[in-house]
Amino acid sequence: MKKLSFGFIIIAIAAMTATEISGCKGKSDKKDTTNNTTVDTTATAPVEVSSDEALRSGVKDATKDYPTVTATVSGGEVTLTGTLDRSKLQPLMQSIQSLNPKKVNNQLTLN
């Protein structure tokens, strides 16, 4: 049985390889007429938003050194309340926005 399935895998790999090679051939025959000079930045894949559980753990780490800040998470949105020195806002926002939230509501009072 083991031998049989192993043989099948070999055949499957061989078939896939053959398909790939012929696929490449087809491509090289055609002239590429697409314009490669501009970067396509309009990606169509939907945005991945972290779960509330992951966001809660992430914001806990991100706000640990800012005890005057409270972060709440609901439906993928992070809401920041409390007070903070304006000079520390950018590093805090950088950490929060790298957690893949749906949205960040900054309601902090800045000093």
Partner: protein, 138 residues
């Protein structure tokens, strides 16, 4: 499209600054800009533009996730304000502290876990996870 227009200068700066795998997506009136910045300097420039277009990041219409990777083997500086940095057993502040990296000291990147945490080694041989915010260019 309105939000993309608002942040057009930022998108253009990300392109010209050499941000890799740049993705610009708009969903429910929130703009998501993702990519990998070639340096911390480019990342900070983008954040400065963000702050200029949307002072104090109040509008909640942009999620800017352009990060710099900490390459394995690279030396990084501990850029805490004054204190020494906790080194933890795992990537999370709920993890036990296994050592301290001195303020302004250099550490070696073992590998970067995610956008928040990096596994590092100190000159004393202490190894564990530190928060990426406190790792800067030497």
């Amino acid at each position: 499209m309105a939000v993309q227009q608002k942040y057009e200068e930022l998108i253009n700066a990300a392109r010209s600054g050499g941000v890799k795998d740049l993705k610009v997506r708009e969903q429910n009136n929130v703009l998501y800009i993702d990519g990998e910045a070639p340096s911390g300097k480019v990342k900070d420039q983008l954040w400065d533009i963000y702050n200029r277009i949307d002072p104090d990041y109040r509008s909640g219409d942009l999620v800017l996730d352009v990060n710099t990777g900490n390459a394995s083997g690279a030396k990084m500086k501990i850029i805490t304000e004054t204190s020494n940095l906790n080194i933890r057993k795992g990537p999370g502040t709920d993890q036990p502290i296994v050592g301290k990296a001195a303020h302004n000291s250099l550490v070696t990147v073992v590998n970067q876990t995610n956008d928040q945490w990096t596994l590092i080694r100190t000159d004393k041989g202490e190894e564990g996870y530190v928060y990426n915010r406190y790792l800067g260019q030497p």
